[in-house]
């Protein structure tokens, strides 16, 4: 994929879907016509740096795509928090997060209901509203920070389709005729997303220790987390921090694909070990003693919830094991695929 294709791909991500193909075709024609003109003027093909300069002049792909949007929707509380450029992404991320959260809440309530617990409308409403406010707050905060950065530095962007303090420049050794295939590089958007997601997960995991309702919802009134969770707490935190470190490294060195592949396999093994110890524990929640309901009143509920967790862990273990096998096989069979980085003497540390 050449530079123009990558630029167009970045623009396409933010275009209205109905017109995407048509707009990209037209923009592609415009860019290539301009490059041909420049080549005729110079009497030689354009260098990669010259191509980059031409694309840079066209501006941030997100801002360019935003001009094609007919609607002008935004989020504002007094002052604008999220503008029309990021609004479609904001809605997409928020919808996904809320959808996932409500599926989890629904599953918990279904399990409780099947165990014979009485679930009131108020329980469902309060849990749903709490999650709604948390998700809304966190996602809005993250996007308003991105918006702030985009407004402040509209010229900072790279060709992975993202904006912010990311870079485009790459130095290639002079004696190398074939440039590295940057389509295999790790997108900085992906690295930033992982850092944000893992940080939120870290805060959540830490919070669950003190506030079990964050994971059990209203069931926290009569269920307790089993001691196994305290035993795996530090390994989980450690693995999450390792993933943040890895994403931070790949943010600076997106060309370190082999490093990511090996590192991910190691972290994956650690994750599988945690799942193994969890499955071996046999019980993950216990019934809380209740003076009002009497001892053992919630044992049945705990039993049903444990069964659901068991199946969940089993599915996670099988899925993770298959993924691990796929990753290791790919690592062994395609060693050349990861070999793009040695040609690059100095990477993305140069800002254009």
């Amino acid at each position: 994929m050449d530079l123009v294709d990558r630029y167009l791909k970045a623009v396409g991500k933010a275009l209205p879907e109905a017109q995407r193909e048509d707009i990209i075709r037209e923009l592609s024609e415009d860019i290539r016509s301009e490059m041909e003109d420049k080549q005729s003027e110079l009497g030689r093909p354009l260098t990669e740096t010259e191509q980059q300069t031409l694309l840079k002049q066209r501006g941030n792909p997100l801002l360019l795509a935003a001009r094609y949007h007919q609607d002008d929707r935004r989020v504002a509380f007094g002052r604008q928090l999220i503008g029309p450029v990021l609004y479609p992404f904001y809605i997409r991320v928020l919808s996904f997060n809320l959808g996932l959260t409500f599926v989890v809440i629904g599953t918990i309530f279904l399990a409780l209901s099947l165990s014979g617990q009485h679930i009131g409308f108020n329980d469902i409403l309060s849990s749903s509203l709490l999650q709604l406010f948390i998700q809304l707050g966190v996602v809005t905060l993250i996007f308003s920070l991105i918006e702030k950065s985009l407004t402040k530095h509209p010229d900072r962007w790279d060709l992975s389709g993202t904006c912010g303090s990311v870079r485009l420049g790459v130095k290639i050794e002079k004696n190398i005729s074939k440039p590295p295939d940057r389509s295999k590089w790790i997108s900085r958007f992906e690295s930033v997303s992982i850092i944000v997601a893992c940080t939120i997960a870290l805060i959540w995991v830490t919070g669950v220790q003190s506030y079990p309702f964050l994971i059990l919802g209203p069931a926290a009134a009569f269920l307790r987390l089993a001691p196994i969770w305290q035993q795996v707490y530090f390994p989980i935190v450690f693995l999450t921090v390792l993933e943040i470190v890895r994403a931070a490294i790949n943010l600076v060195r997106p060309d370190w694909t082999l490093f990511r592949a090996v590192y991910t396999v190691c972290v994956h093994c650690g994750g599988l070990a945690v799942v193994y110890f969890l499955i071996r524990a046999g019980g993950w929640v216990t019934a809380a003693d209740s003076l009002a309901a009497g001892p053992g009143a919630y044992a049945h509920a705990a039993h049903i919830v444990n069964q659901w967790i068991y199946y969940g862990l089993l599915v996670t273990a099988i899925f993770s094991a298959v993924m691990l096998i796929v990753r290791v096989t790919r690592l062994i069979r395609q060693p050349r695929q990861w070999g793009g980085s040695p040609r690059v003497t100095e990477t993305a540390n140069q800002r254009n």
């Binding site: 075709r25 415009d30 066209r58 001009r67 094609y68």
Partner: protein
């Protein structure tokens, strides 16, 4: 912010505002003859009405959706290009806008 910078920013905003209205007229006038996007951009640039593609193409789409322009994809020099031209409604509107422009122009000339 210094007063100089402030004045410069204010001038730049007013200049862009003034140009924005003229651009529609310039694009409609240039499309009396059928052209595709890139040549249209070059024509406007040569006439001293430089416009970046991020402004031109969305504007062309808007004018087309308003029924003032017609477009079609056609092959030229072994490449597919989208050609634009004025529609019948576009010709009428252009005539009216030009009359309005000339009226504004003569009024301003009288005042300056």
């Amino acid at each position: 912010m210094t007063p100089g910078t402030n004045n410069h920013d204010m001038f730049e905003n007013l200049r862009l505002e003034l140009r924005r209205g003229s651009l529609v007229l310039a694009v409609l006038a240039a499309l009396r003859k059928e052209q595709y996007g890139y040549t249209l951009r070059k024509t406007l640039e040569e006439q001293g009405m430089a416009i970046d593609e991020g402004t031109l193409y969305p504007l062309l789409r808007r004018l087309e959706s308003q029924g003032l322009l017609l477009s079609e994809w056609r092959e030229e020099e072994k490449r597919n290009k989208r050609f634009y031209r004025l529609s019948t409604d576009g010709k009428v509107i252009l005539k009216q806008l030009l009359a309005e422009w000339q009226s504004i122009n003569s009024s301003l000339n009288g005042m300056l």
